[in-house]
């Protein structure tokens, strides 16, 4: 039982915009009546729900092989053991314990891994179990699944839906993720798709068909989060047309376009690119079925990691640095390359500015989420700095002076005067992502919500304010004081249990016998063993 008194509360889901309110907590939930317990007086402080990161790469095989590849990344940032915490390392690819502590210390209490190959779902869950403090879940990769593509090609939509339902249930995943649909399959023979209507050789489907079918499946299964799309042609000049075409393909279906910054480039493939945010934001602004997260690039050294194998190879060719590629049987792929974003680079400045243009040009903050596509654009630890860039026009201008000027003036960023309010920041960092994910108990402080509360002491330096909250509570327990971890807890794993016709299993079993190297029976993740704190989110409202 806890009372948080006299806070200046920003709770957009409940329409509370900086009003003085008291928050009452009992048994880990927000309650209406005063429970008369220990009191935290937060007079003069800003109170928000715990942060929600809807798209990051924090657990599973891709993240772990990146850790193995980057000892130099770990040496840069070390975290000694404390009486409350395990030791750890890592700047762009932190160890699991460090990941949990860093999120919590920044006021975030929920994070989703955006790309887990179903065959390695168990690995993601194992890492989740060593990732303290936060609640978590993952999206299951399905955009290059051979069984799924065969169903689409055969026009067997119901069986596709049953398969997707089975796969989510078997992996204890949360949503359907598409990564370069069709392209990753072709990359397994060193090829790729370039338009939505290229045929995926050997399967007789196109990216457009995959996108449309999977968007329908997510809706028909009544998943809490719609299809989550990493479009084709990421990072390629001229890719804005592919992205726009993907949005149009969705028609009025709900869909989330992720790290849209990387997909907003004009120009011709192979050449320099320029921003197309004006045209694209206009489309998003007028299509309420769409949501996006940004994938903001920040300057510095980080690790690119993606389910998009051919993209990984492209980055390796450009940078000449270390390169990991993993092709996963019948399902997906993965590419990893270290990358340094430089403020003196034309391309990197353009990417940085495009991300900010997106934040400043999408009118409805409920449909745009703050992400860096951690660690692709930057570490999640850059969020406080991004918040300052959005809230503080003068700071933004200061930063603009240090970047590549010729690149900058080709964007609209110098002309954008918008400043985010605390209310809007609360939307793009917690209320919005929680709503987009369909998490009813997250992202707000109304009665019944999980008592995840972040309390910031006001500071003129907004970056400092957001990087070191005064208190962070999760499920009513104080985890962080003054940016320091005070307690280690292990959060929930969110997953879905959609309804499907189990008749599909006979076909799936046959597919396993022919093309997998693990038995059908050994594939599903054992809930009781791998999800010590399972939290099923219901499908279908």
């Amino acid at each position: 039982m806890t009372r948080i008194l006299h806070g200046e509360v920003y709770d957009p889901i409940n329409g509370i915009n900086g009003e003085l309110r008291d928050i009452f907590i009992r048994d880990g939930r927000i309650v209406a009546e005063d429970p008369d317990g220990p009191t935290i007086d937060v007079s003069g402080m800003v109170v928000m729900p715990g942060g929600v990161d809807m798209h990051a790469h924090i657990a599973g095989p891709k993240v772990n092989i990146a850790r193995k590849m980057r000892p130099e990344d770990h040496r840069r940032q070390v975290y000694p053991r404390t009486p409350f915490t395990r030791s750890g390392v890592g700047s762009s690819v932190p160890s699991t314990f460090t990941t949990g502590y860093r999120y919590a210390a920044m006021g975030y209490t929920t994070a989703f891994d955006a790309a887990v190959p179903p065959l390695a779902a168990r690995h993601a869950h194992e890492e989740f179990n060593d990732t303290p403090e936060i609640d978590k879940g993952f999206f299951a990769l399905m955009g290059n699944n051979e069984f799924a593509m065969q169903r689409i090609a055969a026009g067997e939509h119901e069986r596709l839906r049953d398969f997707a339902g089975w796969l989510l249930q078997a992996t204890k995943g949360y949503a359907i993720k598409l990564v370069n649909p069709g392209g990753v399959e072709l990359w397994k023979f060193h090829n790729n798709v370039h338009t939505l209507d290229d045929e995926v050789t050997g399967f007789g489907v196109t990216p457009r068909q995959i996108i449309r079918s999977m968007a329908d499946v997510a809706l028909e299964l009544k998943l809490p989060h719609p299809v989550h799309i990493h479009c084709n042609n990421l990072g390629i000049a001229g890719n804005w047309e592919t992205t726009l075409e993907t949005m149009k393909t969705l028609e009025d279906r709900r869909g989330h376009i992720t790290h849209i910054q990387f997909h907003s480039y004009g120009g011709t493939p192979g050449g320099l690119f320029h921003s197309k945010v004006v045209e694209m934001a206009e489309y998003v602004n007028t299509h309420p079925n769409l949501s996006v997260d940004v994938g903001q690039v920040m300057f510095g050294d980080t690790t690119s990691m993606t389910g998009d194998g051919p993209l990984g190879y492209l980055l390796y060719q450009i940078t000449g640095r270390k390169w990991v590629n993993v092709d996963v049987e019948t399902e997906e792929g993965c590419g990893i390359v270290p990358i340094e974003y430089k403020d003196k680079s034309y391309i990197h400045t353009t990417q940085w500015a495009i991300g900010l243009e997106w934040f400043l040009m999408v009118q409805d903050p409920w449909r745009i989420a703050l992400t860096t596509d951690h660690p692709n654009g930057a570490s999640f630890m850059a969020y406080p700095r991004i918040i300052r860039l959005l809230m503080d026009r003068e700071f933004r201008r200061e930063c603009m002076r240090t970047v590549h000027q010729k690149a900058l003036v080709k964007t609209t960023l110098p002309d954008l005067d918008r400043e985010y309010s605390l209310y809007e920041i609360a939307i793009i960092t917690r209320a919005g992502p929680a709503k987009l994910l369909g998490l009813k108990n997250k992202g707000h402080l109304g009665v019944g919500a999980d008592a995840d509360v972040t309390i910031y002491a006001r500071d003129d330096d907004l970056e400092k304010m957001f990087s070191s909250p005064r208190y962070v509570l999760k499920d009513g327990q104080i985890l962080v004081e003054d940016g320091q971890i005070r307690q280690e807890v292990f959060g929930r794993t969110f997953y879905v249990n959609p309804t499907f016709d189990p008749g599909i299993e006979a076909d799936i079993r046959k597919h396993f016998e022919n093309y997998y190297t693990v038995c059908f029976e050994n594939y599903p993740v054992q809930l009781e063993h791998y999800l010590p704190n399972p939290a099923a989110v219901s499908c279908g409202t």
Binding site: H74, D130, N522
Partner: protein
């Protein structure tokens, strides 16, 4: 009598998951589908062990006393090392790393004496790789280098790589070319279309020349003098590597633990990376012990590094040669050794073994070994995958869940380690 279907064999890195195990009178009497070494593992570990649960100084003791004494030794130690872990579950491995963290100890796994050089090549170069199912479904060229799968991984060739039929290789063996590179003929040679027999210690030179050939550089025949391989043979291989549709290079300890070690692996990784300019090519280390891949993974996610880790400064540091078991022992370092599911006394070089004879050993193993016999405290534990549930990672990093097949009166490694951890915590407070 009962049967367990789709049981998982955690003996070698193949981690076959299609074993049908028969249990009669609390013993495993059959393991259908398993290879010879897999059968031996199931039948050998599926028997009641006539050993005390704990021995301290050779005398039988209670589990509580064993845990208490082990914790006391570890807390008093100035430089404890934890080692082994390749033949136990990830759940136990997670406890072992937690213990090392708490003790500010050194922790290393069997990787440092098998595929450590592969891990180091990954750190320097990256790794184009794939799962074994991609080999089955797509690979039309397979090269084994310094590996003898017929004896070390007996089902590797039939289940995954050589005769397996897959989506784009519907005819199995007929659709593939198999190349074996090894210093001498082995039982695996029969399976190969092309045999290349370098002289011992010449792997690096050959891989480097192969890189040049793949990239179209002119290599003088004289450069290969003394390698045991002709320029024609090597040019032919380079041509096949570039012309295949999906190639795979499997590397074994014949490459990673012979002269050149991490330079050999670096050359192999660079070669495979370079071939990807022309076609799809992957590399897979032939990991030996059942869950040695798992321990690399657990260490990497908890500490950032796959082996050779030191917590002396309160946070993990990695340095092969400094924090690896053989090197530490050879320098006379470490004053207590906690050995889990491994037998270093039998397998490490004499100079390292000598240090183990001087210091107290705490051993956890499912059966008697040279290490457990020499140990000051010896725990007999239940076998992960036979008596205990748990997670195992195949050589291609696919995680599988091992189910308990029959009960054991012994505690699991996970239980013993987590209880030692709790006791250490109590001592420290």
């Amino acid at each position: 009598m009962y049967q367990v279907e789709n049981a998982i064999c955690a003996f070698c890195g193949c981690v076959c998951d299609d074993i049908i195990v028969t249990v009669e009178d609390d013993r495993i009497t059959q393991a259908r589908n398993a290879c010879l070494i897999g059968k031996a593992w199931f039948l050998g570990h599926g028997q009641p062990q006539d050993l005390p649960v704990v021995r301290i100084g050779g005398q039988a003791a209670s589990l509580e006393d064993g845990i208490d004494e082990a914790a006391r030794l570890l807390v008093q130690a100035r430089y404890p090392i934890i080692y082994g872990l390749s033949s136990t579950s990830c759940e136990a491995q997670r406890q072992a790393v937690a213990l090392a963290d708490m003790l500010r100890a050194n922790i290393d796994c069997c990787t440092s004496v098998c595929h450590g050089p592969s891990g180091m090549a990954l750190q320097g170069i990256g790794e184009p790789t794939c799962t074994l199912g991609e080999v089955k479904n797509r690979a039309d060229l397979i090269v084994y280098w310094g590996s003898n799968p017929a004896e070390s991984h007996p089902r590797h060739m039939t289940r995954y790589a050589v005769t397996a039929k897959g989506m784009f290789i519907p005819n199995g063996r007929k659709g593939r070319t198999i190349v074996l590179v090894d210093v001498r003929p082995t039982p695996s040679s029969r399976a190969a279309d092309i045999l290349i027999t370098p002289r011992p210690g010449k792997d690096f030179e050959l891989l480097w020349a192969l890189r040049g050939l793949v990239m179209g550089q002119k290599i003088e025949a004289s450069a290969l003098e003394g390698s045991g391989v002709s320029l024609e043979q090597l040019s032919d291989l380079a041509g096949r590597m570039k012309a295949c549709r999906f190639g795979v290079l499997f590397i074994g300890q014949g490459l990673t633990q012979t002269r050149g070690k991490h330079m050999n692996t670096a050359a192999a990784f660079l070669l495979v990376r370079d071939i990807n300019r022309f076609t799809k090519f992957a590399l897979i280390p032939m990991r030996g012990h059942g869950n040695v891949t798992g321990v690399d993974s657990v260490m990497a996610w908890q500490t950032g590094y796959p082996f050779g880790i030191n917590f002396g400064l309160g946070y993990p540091r990695f340095n092969p040669g400094e924090f690896t078991m053989v090197d530490m022992l050879s320098r006379g370092e470490a004053d207590v050794a906690l050995v889990v599911a491994s037998d270093p006394v039998a397998s490490l070089p004499g100079v390292a073994r000598k240090r183990l004879e001087e210091i107290p050993i705490i051993a956890l193993d499912t059966h008697e070994s040279e290490t457990s016999r020499m140990a000051y405290i010896s725990f007999t534990t239940a076998t992960a995958g036979i008596n205990v549930d748990g997670t195992v990672y195949r050589m291609d990093n696919i995680p599988l869940h091992m189910r308990k097949i029959l009960p054991s009166t012994f505690p699991s490694d996970q239980e013993v380690l987590s209880r030692i951890l709790t006791r250490v915590q109590e001592f420290k407070q």
